[in-house]
Symmetry: C2
Subunit: 360 residues, 2 copies
């Protein structure tokens, strides 16, 4: 077993002391990088890129070659599970993901089955193993999945949606059908994450990208309950991060699922989040991705404000720096250099000031 | 002066006792009603409909003819102010509002001037007066405006946006320019609402539709500070409702602006909102508009859950029932009948139960 040379990210997730605040970025391997676009072009399509373990490995490592990031994240799509269920994932340029066979009625729901991670999803496990080997212990590798509810949104809508009309019509009119979809999804997600961990993922993240579209009551019944179930069935030996976009009102409830870290978007003040969650979970976030559109000096000022809003972690607290959402394809790559540099240097300085203040 | 026959809505806003929970719906005069579509067709375009006081009056009254709603809201567009500033508002079918001359640089900002409500916006004041007369005291009339930040989003983006890249680039890179736009907008909004009140509006509402797109710090600096300024300059004699979509984390801060009521979207639990805000403000909301896609029985069950989450208003509290966002064009009109009926009957019953419980 190759030992991990930089375990700052894992220690922050476990709320152990770190010399600085670790940073990685959601969608860090992506279209803002010219080298990513070149590999994608070579692959022929986004799906071909996801389905080739070697190419997925190549793009996963690209941002690490440029920046001193403290974690790698598996390059894959959020919709691999429903694709493996046979819904027929495809992409239309500029329109995002779509399904050929969306789940619309009782018979569609009856046909759903949990995919075998060792069969239909073997390519993902292969990518995890390939990336883990290629990393050679440089930084930890994060695996991930969409949450049961978020997968259900795409499965029922048949793609992205502004108003979630189809999936919410089912939720309100036929909650029994929605629960059946979510039951299948929860089993699929826990098996999938388990397989990623077995293949080498050193932390996993659940993206509940559309939890924030639900009412308070519906969130608890249709999203949170299934996140909780995934975590229970997963019974993970590696840290689990749960990110609910737009979930700032529910931090205490999400923390109670037993996750190790809470991902939070930029609407949340990190100091307030820390006070609400206490030492139960580490917190990951939360720079507005659009702050990266400004000049390097402005980017750094915003990053410092995020670090200071959390404060020096101190005993039993953990902060992982990230954006509050995936990085935009329009981001100038030099913004990311400036960001990573200031997060490392400023957070190290905050710790030194804290130590010298406490030794007075 | 014609006396108001149904002042339930105004009493709830003032946190005075009411016999039942009043209800109105954001965008209640809209495309889900066949009679609205007929009038719009006659008008020729959406903008022509907004700019004709008689037709605006006609559509404002349409939902009141069908349903026992407790308030009317001026039919108008949220972007009348930037249109009056000369930015050239136009609509492309299926794409929402656009501006011919968006505000992109220093010289665009320098050209901005506060429109005269008695000149460029006289047609809105005429519509208010026409509707007020036509209502004949049946229910109160609500006037409205977009918030300074929400108007700025459209002005800089030149239309709707998924990521607010242009307006946020300006916010992060040139906060001085952003503050100049917001300064003009705040003066324009307070004069505009003042003119609507002078013309007959009996309550006014500020729609901060895009406040929830901001980080915690940016919300306070670029949205909330200007909402507060509008309220101060308006110095309103009629109740003021502030609705920040996605603003559930900031209810205490919004309540502190001095508004009379807080509009909340469906992610917020009304009981929790009431506990956080206390008796400082009434609360307006918050059924998920997509709940109206279900059958009348399901609609009624969801409406009861919203009423029960707030609880019987009791001394010093006020609840105005509404959706958590504008009604969808896909709403079956019979869902609205079922909703209005159950909100009135169930909320009256809740008050009776409360009285009999307290007299035990």
């Amino acid at each position: 077993m190759i030992s991990l040379r930089n375990d700052t990210f894992l220690r922050a997730l476990r709320r152990e002391p770190t010399e600085y605040t670790p940073i990685w970025l959601m969608r860090q391997a992506g279209r803002y990088l010219p080298e990513y676009n070149a590999t994608r072009k070579r692959a022929g399509s986004f799906l071909a890129l996801c389905k080739s373990p070697d190419l997925a490995c190549e793009v996963t490592l690209q941002p690490l070659a440029r920046y001193g990031l403290d974690a790698a994240i598996l390059f894959s799509d959020i919709l691999t599970i429903p694709d493996a269920m046979g819904l027929g994932l495809y992409f239309v340029d500029g329109e995002g993901p779509k399904f050929e066979r969306p789940v619309r009625d009782e018979s569609d729901v009856a046909r759903l089955a949990v995919p075998d991670p060792g069969a239909e999803l073997q390519y993902v496990c292969d990518a995890v193993a390939t990336i883990r080997t290629a990393l050679g212990g440089r930084v930890p590798l994060i695996g991930f999945s969409g949450s049961p509810w978020t997968l259900a949104c795409y499965m029922v809508e048949g793609g992205g949606s502004d108003d979630f009309r189809r999936v919410k019509t089912m939720l309100y009119q036929r909650p029994d059908l929605m629960h059946r979809i979510l039951d299948v999804n929860a089993r699929a997600v826990s098996l999938y994450l388990r397989a990623q961990i077995a293949a080498g993922a050193q932390a996993v993240m659940l993206f509940d990208s559309w939890g924030g579209a639900l009412s308070d009551r519906a969130f608890r019944e249709f999203s949170l309950a299934y996140v909780e179930r995934v975590l229970r069935e997963l019974d993970s030996q590696v840290p689990v991060i749960v990110f609910t976009k737009g979930g700032g009102l529910w931090l205490e409830a999400i923390a109670a699922t037993g996750c190790d870290a809470l991902g939070v978007d930029w609407t949340v003040d990190l100091g307030a989040a820390r006070a609400r969650v206490g030492a139960r979970c580490a917190i990951q976030g939360n720079l507005d991705p659009m702050a990266l559109m400004a000049s390097p000096e402005k980017v750094q000022a915003e990053a410092i404000a995020v670090l200071e809003s959390f404060g020096a972690p101190g005993e039993g607290y953990g902060h992982v720096f990230n954006l509050g959402h995936g990085i935009s394809q329009h981001t100038p790559p030099e913004s990311v250099s400036a960001l990573v540099e200031i997060v490392h240097s400023h957070s190290a300085q905050m710790r030194r000031l804290r130590v010298s203040a406490s030794s007075l």
